[in-house]
Symmetry: C2
Subunit: 359 residues, 2 copies
């Protein structure tokens, strides 16, 4: 067989909704995907459904996605790293996992899509199309490993955001974990009052349904998340409790202007929530000379994400005549100058070069 | 003109989204609808769009719907009552309005649909189809007025729930007002943290979007609601705050079983939320002899709602030979016996009679 016709090989550990969707998306992109699951029947079902090519482990896998519950990621990632290749995961909590795995070929990841535990039967090849996907490299991460995961994730249609593991955990506590706990609490309060009056839940219109929808999800995954992201969740939860107590006092005090200003700020913020992937736009390359030391790629991509700049692609050009290398980031043309300036501020030499229309 | 071919006449005060949708639905059912608005241009636009037949007031209106902000209902209802006919409103708070109007021909009402202030251009004839619509009669309410409003509201496709004004206010505080304030607070916390990290709101996936959707609504109406339903809102808000503080402690204490039980209860409650209108079912008449005194009809329909029993239709048959009358409630056949028993417990004579398939 000619090497170029041989498909790239990936492995998926855990063939539930996320793992199954990953396998489908990778196969659609031409990869050979081997899948396994703690429950052998689930893996066999994934094969029977055409979600994976084969059941088991693949010592030749270039990339392994660990798609198991947060509490089981470290062990599964460790085993996959022993088999070789680059390993990433999809868990909702990153700092403890990244610390526990601690390996240059491991890149923490978290696609922000499909948290409902629907199993392999809900798997869809397009689940990640337009979704945000966080990668959390640290100082130990091999730049080649980060680039590989970035490129593959981008090829599945996701938008990559690079964050430190700790930043990731704080941000998802705010937009996912605490909202889930708040939705469940609100649903619990309403259910308690429904026992006093049978009509209550029949009055629940669209707004209430929207707010409590996520409370219908499987409690199982939240036990792990609340244990593994406990500190960040508590910090955000306390902020929310303080803010709710203030809102209560505004209502109690009949402070119409205070209420209007709070509700108006929330309205503006909600209306300006980014929706889906950014529109196609002119792209530019930002070339930045990086020192030949671990963590440079992570530092540069994390800086871009912190500035709200989407990195569409990453490449490294090694120059033979000198140490270090040239890192090439593809970003929106309108952000390129700003990114160069920030990179210069951080002591790195950077330049921007228009690419024309892309994406 | 032959009396039978003459259309029934209704008036709508306030031709925004709700008033405009009411006018469209009434016109579709053959009514002649006159509309007015605090802003004359809005009323003219309603006429130009074919939402109302005429602009102004209609002294011959059999029924007037007051569809203005909560704070303006009492004055508008008082003026409409002076013109004659039965008057109802659509405000989100009932106890202060019903107390302020205090008239036998006024029936407080609240359709649980379309709170977004989109104006007359968003009006739809089917807005109330399958929606819950609360009526809040009290001891003063003329039974004929209650029956008229019940029948007209039913004819627009809504499901009528009869509650005391105070019960209504407590229940909507739980399923609407406090959830709105909580959504706005959550959005505010996230927006505050977004200032620290540009990536935060790009991580907001479906659950967060669902939970905060209602916060995108116009703050204006909530100022009135928070003033007029202050006590019920504070009572529910305090329950929610207590419950959130407990949830926080469960997470802080690493109490996996406590967390599982709370999230599990919320999951079950959310999954069992009633959806839309009940399926067609066999109907029965419940005939109940009522004393000839005010409040009897309100008491009987409120009792049915408190039992979770949907009243599809109401009629009163006056027997010539005796005082009082026979009230006929059309309910699901499966609920008829239970309702009769409860009516008997309340000292009323009642009997059930199957009607066959209905609705």
């Amino acid at each position: 067989m000619d090497a170029r016709s041989r498909p790239r090989r990936a492995e998926v550990v855990g063939t539930g909704l996320i793992g199954g969707s990953l396998a489908l998306a990778l196969r659609a992109a031409g990869w050979h995907v081997t899948g396994s699951d703690r429950d052998p029947a689930t893996a066999r079902r994934a094969r029977d459904l055409g979600v994976v090519d084969a059941v088991g482990e693949d010592p030749d896998a270039e990339l392994t996605f660990v798609a198991v519950p947060v509490g089981a990621v470290a062990d599964a990632a460790g085993a996959a790293l022993e088999r070789g290749g680059v390993v990433t995961d999809v868990g909702s909590v990153k700092a403890p996992v990244v610390a526990a795995v601690g390996h240059p070929r491991f890149v923490g990841g978290h696609p922000m899509a499909g948290t409902e535990a629907l199993g392999v039967d809900g798997a869809r090849a397009d689940l990640f199309d337009g979704a945000a996907w966080v990668l959390t490299p640290d100082d130990r991460t091999d730049p080649e490993a980060l680039m590989l995961v970035h490129q593959v994730v981008r090829s599945l249609g996701a938008e990559v955001l690079t964050l430190s593991p700790a930043d990731h955990d704080r941000l998802v506590a705010t937009v996912s974990h605490v909202p889930h706990l708040a939705a469940a609490t609100l649903m619990g309060v309403a259910a308690g009052r429904a026992e006093e009056h049978a009509a209550l839940l029949r009055l629940a219109a669209g707004g209430f349904r929207d707010m409590t929808r996520i409370a219908a999800g499987d409690p199982g995954i939240w036990i792990d998340i609340c244990r593994d992201n406990r500190d960040a969740i508590l910090e955000v939860f306390d902020t929310l409790l303080d803010s709710m107590a203030t809102m209560r006092d505004v209502v109690a005090g009949g402070d119409a202007e205070g209420l209007r200003s709070r509700l108006g700020a929330a309205q503006r913020a909600r209306r300006s929530l980014p929706t889906g992937a950014p529109a196609p736009e002119l792209l530019a390359e930002v070339r930045v000379r990086v020192a030949d030391q671990p963590g440079e790629l992570a530092a540069v991509t994390t800086l871009a994400t912190a500035m709200g700049i989407n990195v569409f692609d990453i490449e490294v050009a090694h120059a033979a005549e000198q140490t270090g290398g040239m890192l090439i980031l593809v970003v929106a043309e309108g952000s390129a100058t700003e990114l160069c300036a920030a990179l210069a501020d951080s002591g790195r030499r950077a330049s921007a070069h228009p690419l024309g229309e892309g994406k």
